[in-house]
Amino acid sequence: MSDVRAARYSWGGDEFLFVELAEEMSLQANFRVVAITKALREQRLDGVLEIQPANASYQVRYDPDVIEPHALLGRLQELEKQIGDAHDLALPTRVLEIPVLYQDPWTTETLMRFRDAHQDPDSTDIEYAARINGFSGVDEFIAAHSGSPWFTSMVGFVAGLPFKYQMVPRDRQIVVPKYLRPRTDTPKQTVGYGGCFSCIYSVRGAGGYQMFGITPAPIYDPTQTLPDFADFMVFFRPGDIVKFTPIDRERYDAYLADVEAGTFRINARPVEFELQPSLDDPDGYNARLLAGLNDGGAA
């Protein structure tokens, strides 16, 4: 059992209570966020309006006319104690395969338009990221980005955008700064990177993350036409475990045809995630997590 620092609680005006479990990002901190917010959701407290897990913090929006602020604070502090370091908890979740066309023409065209906002105007985003992280080249970088799975640590920024943290020890984490100045444009379904997080842009729009590729898989569908969206317009949930699979242009076009035909589905399998075995033997545990995906083949 590892030591965990006491959480920091702060009022966000008269309707929000913000809780920072750790200042630094780590899988442990995020897993505690997921565990605490899940337990809080199950309590169904009157006056709690929104429970919003993030990477190493979470917030609650509440109605102080229904639940007294300090009463809510007390409940959250109790939960913090109860969950502790969460080392013995198991989280039922999904493992997902997201196909990625790295160095695709659309993000490449976009990044070329914003070179003046970039740290290294003479290379592409992925060349830059590979170089500053000590990889021999882009191929080795893609092997690392797609080699180990990612834990969905937060959904948000805009509708349905997942932030993902790679399930590897800190000395193997890829770290890349955001653009110097945010772009005004990012293609929909861009696979991006900022800090230690990979993300998938759910909609077209502004963005500051480096752009490495694009996925043909829709992840937000307000019209709810594809089968993956039958229940809800947002695909990702915190705790989803993601394997990025590099694909070529031919495969990308084939998936896109499936999307247009309304038959595309993301390859997904239910799985139970436990923190401690993941920390003790990341590579071995990751291999076991991903094994289930291969039974069903690609999406």
């Binding site: 702060s10 009022w11 966000g12 005006g13 008269d14 309707e15 929000f16 913000f18 920072e20 750790a22 200042e23 630094e24 990002m25 780590s26 309006l49 929104e50 429970i51 919003q52 897990p53 993030a54 990477n55 190493a56 913090s57 979470y58 917030q59 929006r61 102080p64 006319d65 602020p69 937060m154 959904v155 948000g156 920024f157 805009v158 509708a159 349905g160 955008l161 932030f163 943290y165 800190r170 984490q173 770290v175 700064p177 955001k178 900022g194 800090g195 230690c196 997080f197 759910s202 909609v203 729009g205 937000y220 307000p222 317009m233 947002v234 990702f236 949930r237 915190p238």
Partner: protein, 322 residues
């Protein structure tokens, strides 16, 4: 009945009291930025206070009615006109089939709310008719109004022309405003001098002022030196991406604070140093570019007293128009 959009105005959207329960997946509450004026407009025409109306920003739309209707405009001073003739603000009035409703130039405030008896009857999405344009959700096809749109109107309940909001229940619209905030979140990243600048300076609203956020010009906030935590990023204003409260004030690069409003991005990696009280978001909503703004810090007890006063004002509004 339907309302035909002849001219869309600068940025007109369908908004109601907003949607709750989806901020955790990045879908913000949306809804009228000035909730008080939305309620006033709706109550004037006999609608439920949170019904869907049109939020008209700076430059109003031109609308043709195909049936008789009862309407009211509240919020910014944008005088409604029926077939070119002025009608009063903060008062219900009738329009006839074939009439065209337009607006005069704005003289104070930023957002006017046009309510029509029966409410704008676009489909509910996730429990609200509000438009969330970033997510292409709600309203008319998830976007602001465009020329040629036809807005369905619901069935009106009993309402009458000539109902007025009493003067003392109308907000004072000014180019010099105070916005009450609670300090917190990541304000420990500021030095005492940084806090003093934030609370002491008069901030000027820039033209970057939309449903997502309002950006202000002023001084630079001094931050405490630190070793960046893993995953935060190098800039002193960076944090490990965290949830953003509605009304939170973030300060990217320690300059130009941004108040996130009801179409907020739900989280990100910039330090937030304070949060605007929920009721004072109406004041922010009625701020036009160049509005001089001071942030006034209150504690939790004061914030709850402000909240109670806001609720009381809403109760008096409902009684006056009941």
């Amino acid at each position: 009945m339907t309302i035909q959009v002849r001219k869309p105005g600068l940025s007109t959207t369908v908004q109601d009291s907003g949607r709750t329960g989806y901020y955790d997946v990045g879908i913000p509450p949306s809804g009228a930025l000035d909730q008080y004026s939305l309620r006033a407009a709706n109550l004037l025409v006999g609608n439920p206070a949170g019904a869907a109306a049109l939020e008209c920003v700076y430059l109003g739309p031109e609308l043709a009615f195909d049936a008789d209707a009862l309407v009211a405009v509240a919020g910014a001073s944008m005088v409604p006109r029926v077939n070119g003739e002025d009608r009063p603000l903060w008062e219900s009035f009738a329009v006839r089939a074939g009439d065209v409703l337009g607006f005069g130039y704005i003289s104070a405030g930023a957002r006017a709310y046009l309510a029509v008896a029966g409410g704008v009857d676009v489909p509910e999405m996730l429990g609200s008719r509000s438009t969330y344009a970033l997510g292409a959700l709600g309203g008319v096809d998830g976007r602001q109004l465009a020329e040629g749109d036809r807005l369905p109107v619901g069935t009106p309940s009993a309402g009458a022309a000539g109902r007025r909001v009493p003067e003392d229940l109308r907000p004072v619209l000014s180019k010099d405003v105070e916005v009450r905030v609670m300090m917190g979140l990541y304000d420990h990243r500021l030095t005492d001098a940084g806090r003093a600048t934030f609370l002491g300076d008069t901030w000027t609203l820039t033209p970057v002022a939309d449903r997502i956020g309002f950006r202000y010009k002023g001084g630079e906030l001094e931050t405490v030196d630190r070793e960046p935590p893993f995953g935060a990023g190098q800039d002193p204003s960076n944090i490990v991406d965290a949830p953003y409260p509605i009304g939170s004030i973030q300060v990217p690069g320690s300059v130009e604070p941004i108040i996130l409003h009801r179409d907020a991005v739900s989280g990100g990696g910039y330090m937030m140093v304070a949060t605007v009280l929920s009721g004072d978001l109406d004041v922010v909503a009625q701020s036009a570019p160049n509005t001089r703004t001071r942030f006034v810090a209150v504690d939790l007890d004061e914030a709850l007293a402000v909240r109670a006063a806001y609720r009381d004002r809403n109760r008096r509004l409902a009684e006056a128009l009941g």
